[in-house]
Symmetry: C2
Subunit: 283 residues, 2 copies
């Protein structure tokens, strides 16, 4: 709810999004760009849908892992992500520097109402949260050892006490969630709400539907942008479910009409479309 | 003249654009993304301006080399680019796949009026052009051995003859030119024509000036987008010339108002701004 749109913005990408990249390094790099684009434009949810009936299960695990890893504040990565070969190239990921990625401060500088990401620790019957500072702080509430939690400081004197943050406590963009879903047609038709924008080179040029789309965006609470795979556009992907983009989306849009290159890569399409969508409600 | 805008679109970047990247690989990668963004949106000229009085001379050579290399059709790269350490990571550059990057065809398929990129060769007193096909073709006109040239086929039977293409012969986007210029303030104030858009986080949000800018774009023949460096925005860069963005540009614009990340990288700012500019005249 913290983007220019003042509404929930979601992105759908297929689990085949890195299938054309040959090496772990290239896959990691592409996911880094996608994570950056989604964070710059305050995307709240990245949905990963199933392309070709689960053929990209291995890639899916990598996508979920890398998008989650880069979104996690650096100080929590070691406790939340066990060592794995899949993170071997994670060193090349750019920092996101979203609001939850807070810098180190002395404990004494913590203020009541401050929100931070942490991990719950059980110590002798009591719960604490490691928020990346000099020592874990006392946590009041439910939760289990090793669980990631967004906390809000309730008391700082004589000692720090925190509880789970409610959405009202969070006044800034707080990163995206990664959510796995099934085949895209089924998901979009199955009661998924909000304005659904299918991106496709074969869609209507964005300039042609610009004003009409703005009107519809004004009425919407959520907006979802749906992207195809590097190999197949959404016409082809949906055909496998005997569906067409027009049947599952409110708009089918070409966000880069008259492109100068034969193809546009997923990460380029995502950042370009988000750039345009993000300014539309306010023009 | 082949973008949606039907006008010349230029981009200015500083010679310090890759100065924050530590390795040749990272610098090459970033330049690849910039080249892709400019090609997708049919940028005609990439101007490289001098930041900090020539402190980035070495980076400048790399920028000029890599942007030129990636823009050159693959079949001409070996004859136009001598081996150099600076191209050691060029293998990671993505293909641009712009119209001049034509595929191999049999000589017999060449048609009169077809335009191709080539290199002039002198063979026993006559000039030929290597256009990446089975044999060089006869060239009528002036030029020197080893010169890159855009040719148009004049005759295909009984033998192929070509001449230098005029701009009227070229009906598609034909890639960008890389042009070196001096300090940005001096260049923009020194008779540089067209609509000058200075990008800056401290500029007016694009949504606020959207309609006004469209009106001005309608009257313009050329549009230039000016980007700062990874370390310094254009307020700081221009201050070294005792100038302000408002003094040298027609607009000072923040193309990513309300960004979710602390910083936006050059390649992200370039593709985002170009996405928006490219649809503006037609909305």
């Amino acid at each position: 709810m913290f983007n220019v749109l003042n509404m929930g913005l979601s992105v759908f990408i297929p689990d085949s999004v890195v299938s054309e990249d040959k090496t772990l390094r290239d896959k990691t790099l592409k996911l880094g760009y996608i994570a950056r684009a989604c964070s710059i434009f305050k995307v709240e949810k990245i949905y990963i849908y199933t392309d070709e009936n689960g053929a990209f299960e291995k890639d899916f695990r990598l996508i979920k892992l890398i998008l989650g890893y880069i979104e996690t504040p650096q100080y929590l990565r070691r406790s939340l992500f066990p060592k794995t070969e899949l993170l071997k190239e994670a060193g090349i990921l750019p920092p996101l520097r979203t609001p939850p990625h807070k810098p180190y401060i002395p404990m004494a500088s913590l203020k009541v109402g401050e929100v931070r990401e942490g991990v719950i620790l059980r110590k002798g019957g009591s719960l604490f949260v490691d928020i990346g500072l000099d020592s874990p702080i006392r946590y009041v509430g439910s939760g289990s050892d090793g669980e990631r939690v967004t906390i809000v400081l309730q008391q700082v004197q004589p000692s720090q006490i925190c509880k789970r943050a409610l959405s009202d406590d969070i006044k800034e963009y707080w990163g995206y969630k990664v959510v796995r879903v099934g085949p895209i047609g089924k998901v979009l038709k199955g009661g998924f709400t909000g304005l659904k924008l299918i991106t496709s080179r074969r869609g209507d040029p964005i300039n042609g539907v610009f004003r009409e789309l703005i009107e519809d965006m004004r009425k919407a609470i959520n907006i979802s942008l749906v992207f195809g795979s590097p190999k197949k556009g959404l016409y082809d992907i949906l055909r496998e479910e005997n569906l067409t983009p027009k049947e599952v989306g409110d708009y089918v849009i070409n966000f880069i009409p008259n492109q100068g290159t034969a193809t546009v890569r997923s990460e380029e399409a995502i950042i370009s479309s988000l750039s345009i969508i993000s300014i539309m409600l306010k023009v």
